[in-house]
């Protein structure tokens, strides 16, 4: 009697675990099936090479490039903002700061990641853009720059926290060897510690990129709604995520080609983040416990 009860419980618990697999299967099924019928109308070649994205206009073009370039532009700005700051924080906390400071500042930095993204969007639009306009006069009220910078601030803790973990995990003896030869902390940090922890730091950067690519609300609010094939950060751009939001807000007929575009855009986004995440898992696994 006791045995059967135990078995039933185990099955129930594993079923809950299976829900997560169903979720993945569901995501892939939904994206693949809807975009499959999209690609019966639009050729994959056009999708990947056409330089215009105008599914909601009369003159329809289905080139993903403008959305990709918008996504990459904002992501690049975000990483350029977050990377130097995040790495500096990580190095400072692991190589310079007193332990007590490190312990109290790390959770404080996590606050940056806890603020809802819609709030960051508001900041980008109403605070950062007007501020930037005061010295970049031809900056539009919607632009890639301000959205990217604010997104960068949001992902600082991702980079700083994971990189710091990687640096902190290095054996003390490595640092002592360097100090013992007369190196400063700066030299020890950047010539020994950062290279030795590079796999962990790279993982943190890749995860931050994946996060930035998938971020929606900041760009939907502050970066604009124009699919623009440009590298100029002052211009308005549309990211993949912002496009999905735009279509979802309007009333597009279910089953129409416009409706299916969001799944084609979605599968592109999914593939990008999936690849990045798995590269990071691979690096993590390959270099794990090098110093054990």
């Amino acid at each position: 009697m006791k045995r059967t009860g135990e078995k039933i419980i185990e099955v129930a618990l594993s079923t809950s675990g299976l829900i997560t697999i169903l979720t993945s299967v569901g995501i892939i099924w939904v994206l693949v099936s809807e975009s499959f019928s999209f690609f019966q109308v639009v050729s994959v070649w056009d999708f990947l090479t056409d330089t215009q994205w105008t599914p909601l206009f009369t003159q329809k073009h289905y080139g993903i490039l403008p959305l990709l370039s918008g996504t990459f532009l904002v992501t690049a700005i975000a990483i350029l903002t977050a990377l130097p700051i995040g790495i500096s924080i990580a190095v400072y906390l692991s190589e310079y700061a007193p332990k007590s400071f490190r312990k109290s500042i790390k959770p404080a930095l996590e606050i940056l990641a806890a603020v809802p993204t819609v709030v960051y969007g508001f900041f980008a639009l109403t605070v950062v853009t007007p501020f930037l306009q005061s010295f970049i006069p031809d900056l539009g009220s919607f632009n890639a720059l301000s959205a990217g910078i604010v997104m960068g601030i949001m992902i600082i803790p991702m980079i700083s926290s994971l990189s710091e973990d990687a640096l902190y995990a290095l054996p003390k003896s490595l640092r002592e060897a360097s100090y013992g030869m007369g190196a400063t902390r700066f030299q020890t940090a950047f010539k020994v510690a950062v290279p030795a922890a590079s796999s962990g730091i790279i993982v943190s950067i890749i995860l931050a990129i994946a996060r930035a690519i998938g971020e929606t609300m900041i760009v939907a609010i502050a970066a604009g709604q124009q699919p623009n094939l440009t590298a100029d950060p002052r211009e308005a751009v549309m990211t993949i995520t912002a496009y999905i939001v735009q279509v979802s807000l309007g009333d597009v007929q279910h089953g129409s080609i416009e409706y299916k575009t969001i799944f084609a855009a979605g599968i592109t986004l999914f593939v990008l983040t999936f690849v990045l995440n798995n590269i990071s898992f691979w690096i993590k696994k390959k270099y794990q416990e090098k110093y054990e």
């Binding site: 809950s16 675990g17 995501i27 400072y92 500042i105 109403t126």
Partner: protein, 285 residues
């Protein structure tokens, strides 16, 4: 040969730069919040909290938005907590080194990296269309529950892992079954850590906007939801809608609503951190 001096200058220069960096994000956030308070705090009054949305900025309130957020919070918790904790228990206590468990594990790591808007597309097809929930609270709650499931599972596992083996062995030693040991010993001992993870996950759900936009949550809902099948809006949706309007009055409304949203987020995070510290002290047996 005064390289030493140069090296020392670089060293202390970097140190001050890095200290600046450490506080940079927090200072910027503080500036933002002060701006928001200046802009929005005067707008918050009883009327703002108890009014329905309106085309006129000065008359519009957040009643539907915060009740929607409360509904979503409750429903998402009901769905995600049992599933997440159960899956966490399975992986940590039963699934060691079995094939299914390792597949689930890799899968969870991948799910955690899927952008939230993709969950919106999943919810749109499965809950809104296939299961015919429409743009209802239930569809929203299921979507968000799937989104935060990986967080709860991981937190549950971490908390269970922190419970010393001796506790389990003591229970087994007295003839308890595996489930009795988990239910009466391991789970209570890990409850602080699990609760922390649940609260953090729910606070994430409260702040989410993108997946709800995709499943068709509305910005303009002129009534308070009464059943889980009603259409709804939530605070972030309402903020997004107001931010997108050109009139300054709505920006003020957005700022006021943000104050309420941040208050909820920070209180939830604060409780989580408090619980974590309390539990961590206790777990050092």
């Amino acid at each position: 040969m005064n390289n030493t001096l140069k090296n020392r200058l670089i060293d202390s220069g970097f140190k001050y730069f890095a200290i600046f960096c450490t506080f940079f994000g927090l200072i910027v956030l503080a500036i933002f919040i002060i701006q928001i308070l200046i802009e929005g705090v005067g707008r918050i009054d009883w009327g703002f909290l108890t009014s329905l949305p309106s085309r006129r900025a000065s008359k519009a309130g957040i009643l539907t938005a915060w009740t929607g957020t409360a509904w979503i919070l409750g429903l998402t918790a009901l769905i995600s907590i049992p599933l997440g904790v159960a899956a966490g228990i399975y992986l940590e206590e039963y699934g060691k080194k079995n094939r299914l468990a390792s597949i689930i594990e890799v899968n969870i790591a991948n799910l955690a990296g899927v952008p939230s808007i993709i969950y919106g597309l999943l919810g749109l097809e499965i809950f809104v269309r296939t299961l015919n929930f429409g743009g209802s609270l239930l569809a929203g709650a299921f979507t968000l529950a799937l989104l935060i499931l990986p967080i709860i599972i991981v937190a549950t596992r971490e908390a269970l892992k922190a419970v010393p083996k001796s506790l389990r062995e003591a229970s087994f030693g007295m003839g308890a079954t595996k489930w009795q040991t988990i239910w009466y010993q391991t789970l209570p001992a890990a409850s602080g850590g699990i609760l922390t993870g649940i609260i953090l996950a729910l606070s994430r759900a409260v702040g989410e906007t993108a997946p709800l936009i995709v499943i068709g949550a509305l910005a303009y809902v002129p009534f308070v939801a009464r059943t889980p099948m009603d259409e709804f809006t939530v605070l972030p949706m309402q903020i997004f809608n107001w931010v997108s309007r050109p009139q300054h009055g709505f920006i003020v409304n957005a700022a006021a609503a943000i104050i309420i949203l941040l208050l909820i987020t920070f209180v939830m995070n604060g409780i989580a951190i408090y619980l974590r510290n309390k539990w961590q002290k206790k777990v050092n047996w």
